[in-house]
Amino acid sequence: MSTRTEHGTPVMEQRGVHQPTPPPAWKPRTDPAPLLPDPEPYRVLGTSAADKADSALLLKLYGELVRGRRYNAQATALTKQGRLAVYPSTTGQEAAEVAAALVLQEQDWLFPSYRDTLAAVARGLDPVQALGLLRGDWHTGYDPYEHRIAPLSTPLATQLPHAVGLAHAARLKGDDVVALAMVGDGGTSEGDFHEALNFAAVWKAPVVFLVQNNGFAISVPLAKQTAAPSLAHKAVGYGMPGRLVDGNDAAAVHEVLSEAVRNARAGHGPTLVEAVTYRMDAHTNADDATRYRDDAEVETWRAHDPIALMERELTGRGLLDDERVKAVRDSAEEFAAALRQGMNADPVLDPMDLFTHVYAQQTTQLREQAEQLRAELEAEQER
């Protein structure tokens, strides 16, 4: 039996569950049933739900998907040209990446993991800045406050408590800010995932956790990562709603995330969203995926490609003609050309920056060391 909570999230009813807080434990519980994950991945494209979908939104998503795919291809190419140290591609995951960016308002915050440069770019960040970490000229290539995008987080799941803290702080200040934090299926095994979700639920923080379940943590398949029926089920243990969504259906991810963001904004607290998707490329350009998975699996997923799904829907609705496809692709090409150009310019580096930003209050120790390096650099130049 499906029911609705006050703020409209459809949930599964679970009968007879009991109050978390004693005393007394032996009195039966009377408040609403706890939230459970969707019984099956939520979908829009190709279902009757698609009828409600806004055409403008679908076209917007389509443009972003195509641009995102092109971005992935271009970034991968840049690693081959030695312009990027390493690139973790999101080819195949574009739907979740771009939807995560588009559901946020300007004042909201995005907390990307190391893989999620595409989400940052879709939120409006200059791709050259987004790729700064991976190019290797500085750890974070952008000012996080400019687009309200936290630094890409390499230590897995560690960004989740940051998102909770930021959202909590904004709420305390009375600001209308939602934080959306991204993490991978592997990252859900980390203690920080647990602690962040628990804090968020206890504090009713306006935060949305988006798990991109792309089937692998580098080489480790999900079955070695968890025995849970789904990652969305983890929400149950924190007392927050969990949603399971087809991560390759951009419209579905957008809808589920929008609802979660809306609930967070309305003061109803956090949501855990699992977007089931697949990493079409290797973990990074340096990885060899043939060691741990076979092509047949990859091919199965190719049949469920986010761009193809969207094109089918748009074509069915008569919204897509050759001209529009060409326009979208041309725009993506332009974007790629600009990125190529931006990355071909050598970054201007100042080694003295190594010392400038470590502390707000510089130490005498670092001043001395900076002087040492300056002297070395001058000696180098004289030679």
């Binding site: 000012d143 940051h162 904004a170 647990h194 400038t356 470590v358 209050q361 130490t363 005498t364 120790q365």
Partner: protein, 344 residues
């Protein structure tokens, strides 16, 4: 000796404990700056297991003084997010050893965020860590973990030894735009000194050591819980004819090379004293940098009196571990008072 040391008598002062001074510093910070938030395990209704936050939740509300879930990485990680949004969180770790679960957040984020973002994102966080032994604490309640913190660039590491400094340094730490590890010597919480709580001293800048006792024979370099022990040792040394200078470092990072080296150049001899284990502890750094800078002024190698290189002992044996007056005097005696060529 349970009395903190070195504060000159001021008019209208009265005895206060270090715990009271810390509490007052938190209260004043909360009152003056609405962005200050105190958070941790049991800091609310209970007032913390050491009662440092006693009454603050009542006074400032649970949104400003917050009992968190029991998860140190989560506490520090959430505080990072709050600091990103412009708040000034003051985190209490319940005991030294219970800060370890937050280590990744500390090393990989707290210490690096400002540098990572080229200064765009400062984290004005204070992490209060009650540390050290001598209180009969069972396992995990008496660690001296400063070696981990000082080896982590991006953190300031501060520790008071007097009631006055407890106030001044905590205020300065909370006001600092850098993340500060504020190490509170547990066994000095109840040490008293005369202090004027109605007119707290102005905020001490972080990074200045102070000479607690002038002397000419040798310098004891120390901090936190070992300061009173060194003062006592210096008194006792007089009977043996040694006039010892005692320097309270107060801040391990930044390190006050100037004050330290000035003292050692004057005396020509030095012993570093701390509770933390010797091997890989702060004493190695201090001895090495003093030697680098003052080599030709040294009549003897800089010696170290430290905790043994063992896990902190159970209560009934801790007195054998802690650097005490005798062990300090033994080290002073080994400072080659007569020419003893070939000892090295």
């Amino acid at each position: 000796m349970s009395t903190a040391v070195g504060l000159s008598q001021a008019p209208r002062t009265k005895p206060a404990t270090m715990a009271q001074a810390l509490q007052r510093a938190l209260r004043d910070s909360l009152a003056e700056d609405p962005s200050v938030h105190v958070m941790g395990e049991d800091v609310g209704a209970l007032g913390g297991v050491f009662r440092i936050t006693d009454g603050l939740a009542k006074e400032f509300g649970e949104d400003r003084v917050t009992d968190t879930p029991l998860a140190e990485a989560g506490i520090l990680g959430a505080a990072v997010g709050m600091a990103m949004y412009g708040l000034r969180p003051v985190v209490e770790m319940q005991f030294d050893a219970f800060a370890y679960p937050a280590f990744e957040q500390l090393i990989s984020h707290v210490a690096k965020m400002r540098n990572r973002t080229k200064g765009a994102m400062s984290l004005p966080l204070t992490i209060r860590v009650p540390y050290g032994g001598g209180i009969g604490g069972v396992e995990h309640h008496s660690d001296s973990s400063e070696a981990y913190y000082i080896a982590t660039p991006g953190l300031h590491v501060v520790t008071p030894a007097t009631v006055e400094d407890a106030y001044g340094l905590l205020r300065a730490s909370i006001a600092s735009d850098d993340p500060v590890i504020f190490l509170e010597p547990k066994r000095l919480y109840w040490s008293k000194d005369s202090w004027n709580p109605e007119a707290p001293t102005s905020v001490e800048p972080i990074g200045r050591a102070v000479v607690r006792r002038r002397g000419r024979s040798a310098t004891l370099l120390t901090y936190g819980p070992s300061v009173p022990v060194c003062m006592e040792a210096a008194e006792a040394a007089q009977a043996e004819g040694w006039d010892l200078e005692v320097v309270d470092l107060r801040s391990l990072v930044p390190f006050d090379d100037e004050t330290v080296c000035a003292s050692v150049r004057r005396t020509g001899r030095a012993v570093v004293v701390h509770e933390s284990g010797g091997f890989g502890g702060p004493g190695g750094e201090i001895a090495a940098r003093v030697t680098e800078r003052c080599f030709h002024h040294l009549e003897a190698p800089v010696l170290r009196v430290a905790g043994f290189d063992i896990p902190y002992p159970p209560p009934m044996l801790e007195r054998h571990h802690l650097p005490g007056v005798d062990r300090i005097l033994d080290a002073v005696a080994r400072l080659q008072w007569e020419s003893q060529g070939g000892v090295g």
